[in-house]
Symmetry: C2
Subunit: 120 residues, 2 copies
């Protein structure tokens, strides 16, 4: 254990500066990811509309399995826990499903359509 | 409702092409996000080590509140649901906590250290 301070006010200035530098990078990355995710949901919403309009099956388990395998392998190369990458994809897909359900409801209001569903 | 096909085999080729185009974009975005997240965890692991080494408090609620506010506002500008952006940050932070706990355990093995914890 090195000496430093447990209060946030009186920390070694060099340590504080290093912490700030790291947090600035984290904030930049978060901004980038939020914008990438906004773009991703634009694409999945187009997929949802396309599927609802052309009566395509909402879920595509083969596509989803390929996505998981690919992301796990990309994660491994980037030294990210592949299990986390898979959990992350599932987290995103859960949100996509909520979006597709909303699209399906909207489609129902105009003309009957079956449920739009998962994935992409 | 327009006519199309419910089977994945015999879909209108134009619809199929549009679906493939969108999925390619989704795959590109996912690859970008996985790499951004790998970089993010590198930064938070450095933060975890710094905190453990200098006995800094693991959690920083003020920092976390600022992060949430900032991400919600970025999301709004990007037309992403701010509630989703907040959920996303919490999802990532849960993983960061797991990493920090591991760092704290490792630090315990070498020399006594208090728990490294949340956020960043």
């Amino acid at each position: 254990m090195t000496t430093s301070n447990t209060g946030t006010g009186a920390v070694d200035p060099e340590v504080r500066a290093e912490l700030e530098r790291l947090r600035d990078s984290i904030d930049n990355i978060d901004a980038a990811v939020v914008h990438m995710l906004a773009e991703r949901f634009k694409a999945t919403q187009q997929v949802g509309r396309l599927k609802a309009l052309h009566q395509l099956p909402p879920a595509d388990p083969a596509r989803e399995a390929r996505q998981i395998e690919r992301l796990r392998s990309l994660a491994e190369n980037a030294k990210l826990d592949p299990a986390f990458a898979e959990k992350f994809l599932n987290f995103i897909i859960a949100e996509v499903i909520r979006h597709h359900e909303r699209i399906a409801e909207d489609t129902h209001n105009g003309h009957p359509a079956h449920d739009a569903g998962t994935g992409d």
